[in-house]
Subunit: 310 residues, 2 copies
């Protein structure tokens, strides 16, 4: 069984190294880090034990990669538009594609390029950061929710494939859970991503700083409430209690800079489209206004413009 | 006629120097800049002509100042609570007090300390900054709207006093205008102050940067609309057309950092109470929600907390 990791940042590097470490045949697509990783491999520093993958199957061109049974996409969503059409070169008809990305309806976007493959949305609960080429710092968590894109099939028909993927990750020491409502899983994650990613950039802060100040704590809750209400307006069965659950879980988490803050600090493009514009458009098309999230998105667009041009 | 300037920052320094420059008997209260100003005076650098007041009546203690006919208050509103009770020492029964401050209902707060004096709200349209002790950089504008606090009297009964104050400023080359609706004048100014002061801090930007980016321009208009709607809910007769007028006037203005941005950069307390919390409370007491202004205020409270403690 051949596994390809497309994008070897914090997410791809962490899960790829975990899978390679237990003996799976893993191939990594890289860009700027290619030479370092080809020569020195990938290391994961983690409080739960360090990993070193010294010999890595590294590629800089997707066309050089082998036909693959499981493709794990872990690039930033800002690269999807260029990447998705190229995936056919490594896929056969039974290839399963796991999308470890932020956003909304990314699976549907991918379906256009790979209409006949099983596509699984993967929602990672992972605190990690790429601190140097091939060097991942893992801080906390790592579980993944698998939410397959069900187009004319049900969970039973794909149970074999899901069990197979689950067993791979299980072997690698990664907790997984299968959920049947992809849209619900995506919106659940947005309830966290929308306030924490955006405010960490706008207020130059970490999760614990945001939670520990009364005003920003109230603001996070107000934004979360708006996202839950937007989801409910789209008949996504989210419950308001999710807000307390997520706040509580984040309080228990290590103090953390969300990925958008890291992108901002490195003057990279931020995932505004997937985390803000798509949910806003979905709600708006349904006649539901999101004034706070709109304001966040406008502030972030301004910040990104100046961050990339300065 | 004795004039006292309470607070010799950009506003007090500019207007005080203009009045002293044409021969009025002006006395300045200072704090940290006292020694520099006592020794070297006040200078105003302006594209409309520089001013030098070499010999300044400078004081560091309000109790040393003479009884005054016109008191001009130009400290930051954050100092009001300490200042207002001390003003009686320089006021007689005919003293007129002109409040050149931001905010809402500041005149009413002052009325508690000086119940029998004529109090005039002064709304300055001035682009200036104190760049060093006793050194004011004037960039643009300078006109003042006089809006008297009418408690049981009408404009006619105080017409003599208003004419007197107007003639002083006229002599000093400062345009003035008398308006009869203080609350309307205050809310009009808030329509500008609320978006531009807050966003210039949160987005680390100037007026022209905020206006020239599509998303921040839209956000400014959305916030202005919310403020106009809040004022209307309080039966303040503001018109939506004010928004275009203010945006257009700001586009014509020099590129500028509003006073809150200057305070932020100098790690000083920002005027959150007067510019955000008071308008929010007034609207809220009336059952009118301001989600965008609430979010601005929450973001600013977070930023201020970290700015003052870092």
């Amino acid at each position: 069984m051949i596994i390809s990791i497309i994008g070897t940042g914090a997410v791809g590097g962490y899960y790829g190294a975990k899978l390679a470490n237990v003996g799976f045949n893993v191939h990594f697509l890289l860009r700027s880090d290619y030479l370092v990783v080809k020569n020195s491999g990938i290391t994961v520093d983690s409080p739960k034990g360090n990993l070193i993958c010294s010999h890595v199957n590294a590629y800089v061109d997707i066309n050089d990669m082998p036909k693959t049974d499981l493709v794990i996409i872990a690039v930033k969503t800002t690269e999807n538009v260029n990447l998705f059409p190229k995936l056919t070169s490594i896929c056969h008809k039974n290839t399963i594609v796991l999308l470890l990305q932020n956003g909304l309806t990314v699976e549907n976007d991918l379906k256009i390029s790979l209409p006949n493959n099983l596509i699984i949305g993967g929602l990672c609960f992972l605190c990690a950061e790429k601190i140097a080429p091939g060097k991942i710092a893992h801080f906390d968590y790592g579980a993944i929710k698998f939410a397959p894109l069900l187009h004319g099939c049900n969970l039973k028909e794909i149970s074999e494939q899901l069990a197979l993927i689950g067993s791979l990750f299980d072997k690698a020491g990664i907790q997984t859970q299968i959920v049947n409502n992809l849209a619900k899983a995506r919106w659940e994650k947005l309830v966290w991503n929308i306030p924490f990613n955006g405010l960490s950039v706008i207020l130059r802060s970490t999760t614990q700083q945001l939670l520990s100040h009364t005003e920003s704590n109230l603001l996070i809750r107000a934004i979360m409430t708006e996202v839950v209400n937007a989801a409910q307006s789209l008949h996504i069965p989210l419950n308001q209690s999710l807000i307390d659950t997520q706040i509580h879980a984040t309080q228990q988490m290590i103090d953390y800079s969300p990925s958008m803050k890291v992108d901002f600090e490195r003057k990279k493009v931020m995932e505004l489209e997937q985390i803000y514009l798509k949910p806003l458009a979905a709600a708006n098309d349904n006649g539901f206004n999101m004034p706070l999230v709109t304001m966040l998105a406008q502030q972030l667009a301004f910040i990104e413009h100046h961050n990339l041009t300065r």
